[in-house]
Amino acid sequence: MKAILKYILLTAARDWLFIGLFAALIAACGLSLFLGSTALSEQAAMQLSFIAGTSRLVLVVGMVLFICFHIRRSFENREIEFLISRPISRSSFLFAYFFSFLVLSLLLLIPVMGFIFFLFKPTVLGFFLWSFSVFCELVLISTFAILASLILRSAVSSVLGCFGFYMISRIMGFAVSTIIIPANLNHINLNIALEMTLKGLSSLLPRLDQFGQSKWLIYGDVNPDMLTLIAAQSVIYITLILLMSVYDFNKKQF
């Protein structure tokens, strides 16, 4: 476990993940501070919202790109074959990978959290919920990136798959609200098919639309139940993807 964690962190440093992502984060924060300062009023709220939104996107994109390209390259260079030739089960290997990406997500998120906390001083509960939900979102998308890289044979298709999954998950609330529109509203059978499709799709995808909302940082009015909702969704979905990954990895022929 420790060796794989070290290996992932070294690979991340070798691939300039830290430098690249920190440069992107500094650019995003700088631009957000500049644009927010030109607002007619509520400059701090504007800056905070821009920083929270853009840094979340930068981190998600960075993690997906790194994981997909790292895993596909490891398969192509036969690094994975070498690693699993060691006395470690495939499941343990995958869990070690998952844990490493979890640590990596935390390492990348901490500077953003520090920047937001010291510069804007949001309410503790709002700040905690935002940070926790963004961390869960990063871990969830990282786990999905592991699965996509294991299933799909190309890094590019894995990345595109992850982005598609992320986008659909972020509009899941919208899909759910569309389901409640009566199917026979227009007396068209197509609506029933649409309803069934949306129901099926929404039951299989996570509610990422409830995660990382910048209003928690700005107004601090947080419903404590959100914490339970986010934790429950993360635990359920991350476990589901991990089990799917283990199942697929165990069946893989080298």
Partner: protein, 250 residues
């Protein structure tokens, strides 16, 4: 074909295609992006979809876009050229995303109300009235701005009075300065309706308990100098004395 000939054909083809590209640019250079001043107002459905779950982030983006509408890409547009009906649509749409923020009402009342076409400010007044209705306890300030805009920019005293009464009807337990509750009196005074103005002041004196010396001085000044009613002034001060709300020593 020799290598030299092939190379020459390649070079000539390169020059020809480059020339074609330059000609294409020359013929298409007049096609420019549609630099509309106020963009079309999208449906709430679309906006919610595009917000990807973070309404606040998208709200700030759109609010910023509306702040800079017409003044982007090196353009500077006079406010008289803006379509205020569309602008009002944007204000209402943004309120659907976040009605708690004071960014949009401040943009409307401090910036867009400065238009060179005062008749357009009716859209601002309508918006501010609707915005304040969402939470009269915290949004009364925007009603006072609506009164000001209706009275001084739009010069529609009837509308100003209507909004002033809405402002004065803010629940009594709201910590609001007395000048806001006296707003209908000021408009009545400007309309020459001194009796109505007096009634407003008396009503405030009878229904509220605590006044600062500054507020009482202002009411006295308003009655004495602006309503020019010396007799009434004494009536009011007697009333204050009786209710122990007036202290000459202060």
């Amino acid at each position: 074909m020799t290598i030299a000939t092939r190379s020459l054909i390649l070079k000539l083809s390169l020059i020809l295609v480059l020339g074609l590209q330059v000609s294409f640019w020359y013929k298409t250079k007049h096609i420019k992006p549609d630099m509309i001043i106020v963009p079309e107002v999208p449906k709430l459905f679309t906006v919610k979809l595009l917000s990807l779950g973070d309404d606040q982030f998208y709200f700030r983006n759109l609010a910023f876009k509306i702040q800079n509408a017409g003044d982007s890409w090196g353009r500077f547009t006079a406010l008289k050229d803006y379509n205020y009906e569309k602008l009002q649509g944007w204000f209402f749409l943004l309120d659907e995303l976040d009605s708690k923020s004071n960014f949009v009402p401040s943009l409307a009342s401090y910036y867009y109300s400065q238009t060179q076409k005062p008749e357009d400010t009716v859209y601002i007044v309508e918006y501010l009235r609707e915005h304040a209705k969402k939470d009269p306890r915290t949004k009364w300030w925007w009603l006072s701005q609506a009164v000001y805009i209706a009275n001084h920019r739009l010069k529609d005293k009837d509308l100003a009075l209507e909004v002033a009464y809405e402002l004065a009807a803010t629940p009594e337990d709201v910590d609001m300065p007395y000048w806001a509750r006296q707003m209908p009196a000021f408009i009545h005074e400007q309309r020459g309706e001194t009796d109505a103005a007096k009634n407003i002041i008396v009503d405030i004196l009878n229904n509220f308990e605590e006044f600062t010396p500054g507020e009482l001085n202002f009411m006295e000044y308003f009655i004495r100098d602006r309503l020019e009613d010396e007799e009434f002034r004494y009536e009011v001060i007697e009333e204050l004395r009786k209710n122990a709300k007036w202290d000459h020593e202060r």
